[in-house]
């Protein structure tokens, strides 16, 4: 066997099987123990792969979602809504359909066809990836070890200190290269366990077949148009999260942190800590 053919197989195995196990072993000793720089990845392979798959599908969902929204940039509350009815609010943007009164004298190109196809395909990628991440998080201890805050983290004083340093966009110290602080932990928990389920729920509530099969899923949200409006609001929250996430990663050292999320390794950088 030539080394050329062996290499990709080995790296494939390292990505798929070895690292999560190593990660779990490292975590078993002490939850907060800093993994040693040799061997233990900062982020488990599955976390890295799912992170970028989710990032990619989120970008696709956002762009196509915006395109779909342009065909009717008005929002309603309740079961029904159309241009003959009073909207809850409308976005100050032109529309891709000429029957929507927007105040603009022109109509944008219609991109709904491919946007809808890609929106639902990207949604499948996001949901299946999210499911793999959920199983990993539950059974490999990722949630327990990396996301659930410790009891002492939740003291008001500790929370206030961490939050204050976040609000000042202060650069994190080197000790944070190997772990998440309590504000990060709580934010990720909200994204994973609140916003993600909500965006899936409000999206599925717009499917005529799904809402027929599970009418309560729509009624609890206040109706089909309410579900559409909530889908938009949750999107705004997710976009806010992504923006803040990117800013914080930049403050902590963009290349170092992104490098760790790609390769799993933390590079000793020359950037000032």
């Amino acid at each position: 066997m030539s080394s050329r053919s062996a290499a990709p197989v080995h790296s494939g195995a390292a990505m798929g099987a070895i690292s999560p196990t190593a990660d779990a072993v490292a975590g078993r000793g002490s939850a907060r123990a800093r993994a040693s720089a040799e061997g233990q990845p900062r982020h488990a392979a599955l976390v890295r792969i799912t992170h970028w798959l989710i990032a990619l599908s989120f970008l696709a969902l956002l762009v196509t979602g915006a395109e779909i929204l342009l065909s009717h940039p008005r929002f309603y509350w309740g079961e029904t809504g159309n241009v003959n009815m009073r909207p809850l609010f409308r976005l100050p943007v032109p529309s891709s359909r000429d029957m929507v009164p927007t105040g603009y004298g022109y109509v944008l190109p219609d991109a709904n066809g491919w946007s809808r196809y890609l929106h639902f395909e990207a949604a499948w990628v996001a949901v299946l990836t999210g499911f793999a991440y959920l199983l990993f998080g539950l059974f490999q201890g990722h949630f327990r070890r990396n996301l659930f805050p410790t009891f002492s983290d939740l003291s008001p004083k500790r929370l206030a200190t961490t939050l204050a340093s976040h609000l000042r966009f202060r650069r994190p110290g080197a000790e944070e290269a190997w772990t998440y602080n309590v504000v990060q932990r709580l934010t990720y928990l909200i994204v994973v366990f609140v916003l993600f389920p909500l965006i899936i729920w409000t999206g599925l509530a717009l499917s005529p077949t799904v809402e027929g099969a599970f009418p309560a899923a729509v009624e609890i949200l206040g109706g089909r148009q309410s579900a559409r409006t909530l889908h938009f609001f949750v999107t705004i929250l997710l976009v806010l999260f992504v923006l803040i996430h990117i800013v914080m990663v930049s403050r902590a050292g963009f290349r170092k942190r992104v490098g760790a999320m790609i390769t799993g390794r933390v590079f000793q950088s020359k950037e000032k800590a």
């Binding site: 066997m1 159309n82 809808r116």
Partner: protein
């Protein structure tokens, strides 16, 4: 090291082979049980196939939500349609008495039903909503006869898998599978909110498919064709929608 690599190589190889044959088997089974939409081969067909297969497996017999009379929209809305032509106007002036619905394809008794005969068929009504892919919607009462009754009346053969329907609007034709064609809420409608079906909303005849988005509820239908294969219709993608870049299945 090389022993581990070799073992990994073999297991990975076997795993890949098993995975590939598993996928091939799954694809064959999916096709056998009608879980592959006709536009599965388009650019984003994989997502469509997952959606269609999942909904046909899990919600094949689900019912569209129905509402009470008080929930009927006081301000329904319909997109404007292109002028329907001189022939349509002539029929409209005669109160559509000469409107006929042709039923052909894989049926024992091909022919056509005059509007009056369709109105004499068992009457069914539902209060459901029309939801447009653009995002707007309204609730209305729809009155008509189940599509399944018309298929029975024409003697649809057991091997029929799809019903293709056409409109007076040129280049607008659709099709649905039998899960929707035989569904009790799929109606050939001629009435709305207790009265005649207005032309703006698809009168004199509109096929209502309430478990899918509005664009599957084609207005002014003139012809139904029962078939076991959509390959020979248009570009073979199932309907005019995929040819225009929209999904064939709109149950999302």
């Amino acid at each position: 090291m090389s022993g581990i690599s070799r073992r990994k190589l073999i297991t990975t190889g076997l795993g890949t082979a098993a995975g590939a044959s598993g996928l091939a088997l799954a694809a064959r089974l999916a096709a056998r049980y009608g879980l592959i939409p006709p536009d599965s081969g388009v650019l984003y067909g994989a997502g469509e196939t997952l959606t269609y297969a999942a909904q046909r497996l899990l919600t094949r017999h689900s019912m569209a939500r129905e509402f009470s009379h008080s929930e009927i929209s006081k301000e329904p809305f319909a997109n404007e349609v292109a002028p329907l032509g001189a022939e349509f106007q002539r029929l409209q002036q005669g109160s559509f008495a000469e409107w006929r619905l042709v039923v052909d394809g894989m049926v024992a008794r091909p022919g056509s039903f005059p509007l009056a005969e369709i109105k004499s068929f068992p009457r069914s009504s539902q209060i459901t909503f029309v939801a447009c892919e653009e995002g707007w919607s309204y609730i209305a009462e729809w009155i008509g006869t189940p599509l399944s009754h018309i298929l029975d009346a024409a003697g649809a053969l057991p091997q029929v898998r799809y019903v293709v329907y056409r409109s007076v609007q040129p280049d607008w034709w659709e099709s649905i599978d039998m899960a929707d064609a035989l569904h009790p809420q799929t109606l050939v409608t001629y009435g709305m909110n207790g009265g005649e079906l207005p032309v703006g909303f698809g009168g004199p005849l509109r096929l209502r498919v309430p478990r899918q988005l509005g664009y599957k509820s084609v207005k002014y239908i003139t012809r139904l064709t029962a078939t076991d294969n959509l390959k020979h219709f248009g570009k073979g993608l199932g309907s005019a929608s995929p040819e225009g870049g929209y999904a064939w299945y709109a149950g999302i």
